[in-house]
């Protein structure tokens, strides 16, 4: 049958524009924070009292915006501007990894009408939760004790800077173009009399406005990058998943997960596509699992891109922490079969328990992703 043709050129143009706008938004965030002044940022900084709270803030922030890319890109901006230290940013990035899994868990609720389908779909979504929680349980204490992720990322940052990679140079053409974009937005804002008056009356409120706008712009630009890239890559996603279906799991499926997520800039897109496929029974949960792990790795590209916009080299360092955390968690937990199957088994146990009492699925989401993080922040802060 004959199908309507698509318009890839428009998608490419829009995705490129929003990628630029995304980098400009990160820069705007950095400028907003800088305009607060060092004294004020130090005060705010002290309000996050422990790395554990940072982890919970990372979870909660990602659940609220439903995108780890928005959270990690914002963290890169905060770290790059010197507002947030690596000590607190690293657990936040780990928290973002946990928080992002709520999206596909919500997608699984769409299968609640059919018992077996829901059981498979819910297990497919929660295996991602369990893997990311286990990864944090394993790597977070080691990081606290040794700082291995931080050291690894700092060393890599030094190597990247030493190679003279263009985007890390303060006067690179990429940075100049981003600077021009952010200055243009600030100029445009200053032409609005209300904002101009605000700038003169209260630097804190003006900075707050810039920060709020920047976060809104990050959210909007990422949303548009994802939707345009998804439209552009739909055929390739289907092709890749079809190949993964026919070849089963393994390293090939991890690579497929990386490539799909890398191309659409969203792990939630990849993992949410898997949920109905596993739910319908055409892909075994064991074979979907490596694609999910690939999605974890692929999504780290957003933070690396965001680091191109910030001046401080620590922006790149925190982006690399995100990359290493996901690479190492896969390298540690995937190769050994009992460890690999552990998150799947936990997900199967949970889905078996919830299938008879489906309200338990909602309770699970609320407790894991909302109540526990809020409680933890209140208790430990």
């Amino acid at each position: 049958m004959v199908i309507m043709k698509k318009r890839p050129f428009t998608n490419i143009l829009l995705a490129t524009f929003f990628l630029y706008f995304f980098l400009v938004s990160i820069k705007l965030l950095e400028k907003g924070i800088r305009s607060l002044g060092a004294e004020y940022t130090d005060q705010l900084f002290q309000s996050v009292s422990s790395p554990f709270v940072g982890l919970l803030v990372g979870i909660l922030a990602t659940v609220l915006v439903q995108s780890s890319s928005v959270t990690t890109a914002t963290i890169v901006g905060l770290v790059g501007s010197g507002f947030l230290s690596l000590t607190y940013a690293i657990p936040m990035v780990m928290g973002a990894n946990i928080g992002t899994t709520v999206t596909n868990t919500l997608v699984s609720f769409g299968h609640a009408r059919r018992e077996n389908e829901f059981k498979r779909a819910f297990a497919a979504s929660t295996m991602h939760d369990f893997f990311n929680i286990i990864a944090v349980l394993v790597l977070f204490p080691i990081e606290l004790a040794t700082g291995f992720l931080r050291k690894l990322a700092i060393n890599t940052t030094d190597i990247v800077i030493a190679t003279g990679f263009t985007s890390t140079k303060p006067n690179s053409s990429i940075k100049a173009a981003i600077e021009w974009g952010s200055e243009s937005i600030i100029d445009l804002l200053s032409k609005i009399s209300f904002i101009d008056n605000l700038h003169e009356q209260s630097y804190k409120l003006y900075a707050g406005l810039l920060i709020s706008l920047a976060i809104l712009f990050i959210f909007l630009s990422l949303k548009n990058i994802v939707s345009n890239m998804k439209s552009l890559m739909l055929n390739k996603i289907e092709f890749g998943l079809n190949r993964a279906l026919s070849r089963g799991g393994g390293i090939f499926a991890i690579v497929i997960g990386i490539l799909i997520t890398f191309s659409v800039q969203s792990s939630s897109i990849t993992t949410s596509i898997l949920v109905p496929i596993v739910g319908s029974g055409i892909l075994a949960i064991e074979n979907a699992f490596p694609i999910t792990l690939g999605a974890n790795i692929g999504t780290t590209i957003t933070a690396v891109l965001a680091s191109f916009a910030v001046d401080g080299s620590e922006g790149l360092t925190i982006a690399l922490v995100h990359v290493y955390f996901n690479l190492i968690s896969v390298a540690v937990l995937y190769p050994y079969k009992p460890l690999r199957n552990f998150p799947i088994k936990l997900a199967m146990i949970l889905s078996s328990a919830t299938v008879k009492r489906r309200y338990m699925a909602i309770v699970y989401v609320l407790v894991t992703f909302v109540m526990l993080p809020i409680l933890g922040i209140v208790l430990f802060n």
Partner: protein, 210 residues
């Protein structure tokens, strides 16, 4: 840019039709010719299994397509593909039924109406090829032509069945001949139904008379 998975579904439906055509030719050669039954049986049944596997692959690809395109999903198109693949799959099953008529010792090679039966075979064989063509081209008139021709042939076969049931048509194997016409009618109807899925709204698929 073509739509990868639906192009792939189209290709699989085309492959199912090629195999159905092969099965139809094999089973008809057993009834209207001197083909050795044992020599074709394995081929016939393995081809049917192939059609069934292709049918399952079509379903898998439609699920995959719906998961990837969840936001802009053309639901009527997917439903049309589902019903069409089912119709094509059924052709293979009726070809096996035709073969079973031959397997129980019936043959129409010596009947007076052999030439008519051969022309009937050629017509239906031609319809399968036409359906394959209709899948790959965007030409509503061709599909409509196939539906009309199929409907005409359907009426003709119906009249034959009525004549056999009313004992107005004298044949050597009345039960086998009735079943033979019945199976041909079903094969013809599934071809027509599959064709309706290409151009008709989902609620009207299969209902050309109403």
């Amino acid at each position: 840019m073509s739509d990868y998975s639906l192009d792939s579904v189209d290709a699989k439906l085309g492959e199912m039709l090629t195999n159905s055509s092969h099965m139809f030719d094999l089973s008809m050669s057993c009834l209207l010719g001197d083909t050795n039954l044992d020599s074709v049986k394995e081929n016939l049944y393995s081809t049917d299994k192939l059609i069934n596997e292709l049918h399952r692959n079509v379903r898998r690809e439609l699920i995959l397509h719906s998961a990837v395109n969840s936001r802009n999903l053309d639901v009527p198109l997917l439903l049309a593909y589902m019903t069409m693949s089912k119709d094509i799959e059924r052709i293979g099953d009726y070809c096996k039924n035709l073969f079973e008529i031959a397997e129980t010792g019936n043959s129409f090679t010596k009947g007076d109406d052999l030439d008519y039966l051969i022309s009937l075979r050629d017509n239906i064989s031609g319809f399968i090829v036409s359906l394959q063509t209709c899948l790959s081209i965007d030409e509503e008139s061709k599909v409509q032509e196939l539906i009309n021709s199929g409907a005409e042939l359907g009426k003709e076969i119906d009249e034959k069945i009525t004549s056999l049931l009313e004992d107005k048509l004298k044949v050597e194997f009345p039960v086998a001949t009735t079943l033979f016409y019945r199976y041909l009618k079903r094969i013809n109807l599934h071809i027509v139904n599959a064709a309706t899925a290409i151009i008709m709204p989902v609620d009207k698929i299969d209902y050309i008379d109403e």
